[in-house]
Symmetry: none
Subunit: 228 residues, 3 copies
């Protein structure tokens, strides 16, 4: 978080600010076995979404990194990547939409991606700052019935992982909505607001199934809302 | 918008903040055909102006990028560029005035340029932050009777476009005034204020004429004024 | 200072902001003799800690730099380093935990490191921005009875210093707590908050013992709390 944000929150919202305990996932090593499955709260037939997370990784150089994978039996329904060249991307059944952006790194980034079927508008947000918009898969619908995992890219249904693509680092606060949230709402969550809670995934209540050696720890996340 | 400004506005003006729907232009590919013509609300004989927009582009390296073009039959009356070397510039009939500035990039920048004939003072603003001032075309008047386009640089009246100079990316919220606005007003608009509305171009009402493959979509823009 | 910080301070805390005098240590040359011993306020048997400091150094290239050393008779109980390759690390009896991070440099960085025995979670904070978490020495306890020094790395109890590892630059505001502080509290201290005071080391009261040529000067530190 920038010093200004910090400072602002600190002084203006002293009476309200605090921290909340939050689960966080630490993937310590490159493997093709370790992953977390997240159980969605509703079927994932989506004509729009906002997907957010806090992520930090020391992986650098030319290395693909999977950030989120939702796969049905036949397709990568919604996969979010850091590509070999550092660009961010997401794939919905077929070719991706790619975005240049500041590189994800060892200091934590609040990352969101939004997409709406009607307009096809897609965008990333890094620490609340919006990328340009791109037009992608206008009219498409994400299909339900698959599984969502963090840490690995399934090349078929929950299998065929590649340790040169897996996630190594820390990831937490993965939330998803079935609508495109306004820029202001995304900026608020970057700054620690805990509302609105995700209706597809709500990190505070979503069931996590651990597979292999992933550390699930608890740390304090700053929020301007706590301790009221 | 910086998270700090956003956050500041968000929390301080929670009761007032919200978002407004805004048209946005997505230029997906380098072409010499795609452009948007903007119809001004008054004749463009100007002895001062403030021109603002929100812009993001993945074009990088040594590439000229046209940001705004106002051309009469014989002259480039007011053209705003990102130059080959990344500097920002504007041209009023002849040689430009050039400004070093942080590079425009894939995350959205709020960009303004101001000029006043009496003093000749010219300046850019990036995300509300003012450049140094330069003296340019003291005593000059911008001539009326031309056409304003986004996306291409007309080397004659609405023609001879060059796809190595066109705009690729997203541009929106293009507003223009026939006066130099105060720094504080520009900073306010960067932060999402919707007043004062432009009297030469007001993005919320200006007629846009689409030529070729330019996507006109609607997205939410943060504003501290909405939902009052 | 960023415009946002400026704006924030200007508007919100005009009545409250100010500065406090603070001791600062200037290590001018590479030696194997100059150091400061800090006397802790309580025995250093620790199952968790937060250690913060403000540090600036012109040492660059492949050069180890010791930032904090706590050694008992037999062990490096808690040593914080900038490593040869620029990574940050700390050692508790044996192998270190290493973090990639923006390089420490000639402009002052507010640096914190946190660790908790129960979860093993370890993290650095640079200017309030959190690194990824790593799991380190779960279940370990730091032992009491040693000595803490700034400026040199003791390879045995207060001796065998190496001038190719010593600290050259400025260091101040070294504070330590026997708990992991919340992110928000660390961000607050980065921004100048003076509470909560450290209960292992409190820079405002901790006894410093000067050895050799270390300049102890007083300068003003910004704080949003002063001049109330």
């Amino acid at each position: 978080m920038s010093p200004a944000v910090t400072l602002f929150l600190m002084v203006v919202s002293t009476a309200l600010a605090g921290s909340v305990p939050i689960k966080t996932l630490v993937f310590s090593t490159a493997t093709n076995t370790n992953y977390i499955e997240m159980i969605p709260q509703r079927p994932m037939n989506l004509t729009a979404f906002t997907l957010c997370m806090r992520v930090a990784t020391e992986l650098s150089g030319r290395r693909e990194v999977i950030l989120f994978a939702y796969r049905t039996g036949s397709y990568d329904e919604l996969n979010v990547w850091r590509e070999l060249d550092g660009r961010l991307s997401f794939y919905m059944v077929g070719d991706p939409v790619l975005f240049k952006a500041p590189k994800l790194g060892a200091l934590q980034t609040h990352l969101c991606v939004t997409w709406d079927s009607t307009s096809g508008l897609a965008a990333f947000f890094l620490d609340g700052k919006r990328s340009l918009s791109k037009i992608y898969r206008k009219g498409h619908t994400v299909s339900p019935g698959g599984r969502v995992i963090l840490g690995q890219d399934p090349d078929f249904y929950l299998g065929d992982f590649d340790k040169h693509q897996n996630f190594v680092g820390e990831i937490c606060d993965v939330n998803m909505w079935d609508v495109v949230l306004a820029d202001s709402v995304i900026q608020g969550m970057f700054a620690g607001e805990r509302e609105p809670r995700g209706n597809v995934f709500d990190w505070e209540s979503t069931e996590l199934r651990i597979n292999g050696d992933v550390e699930v720890a608890t740390r304090e996340l700053y929020t301007p809302e706590a301790d009221v």
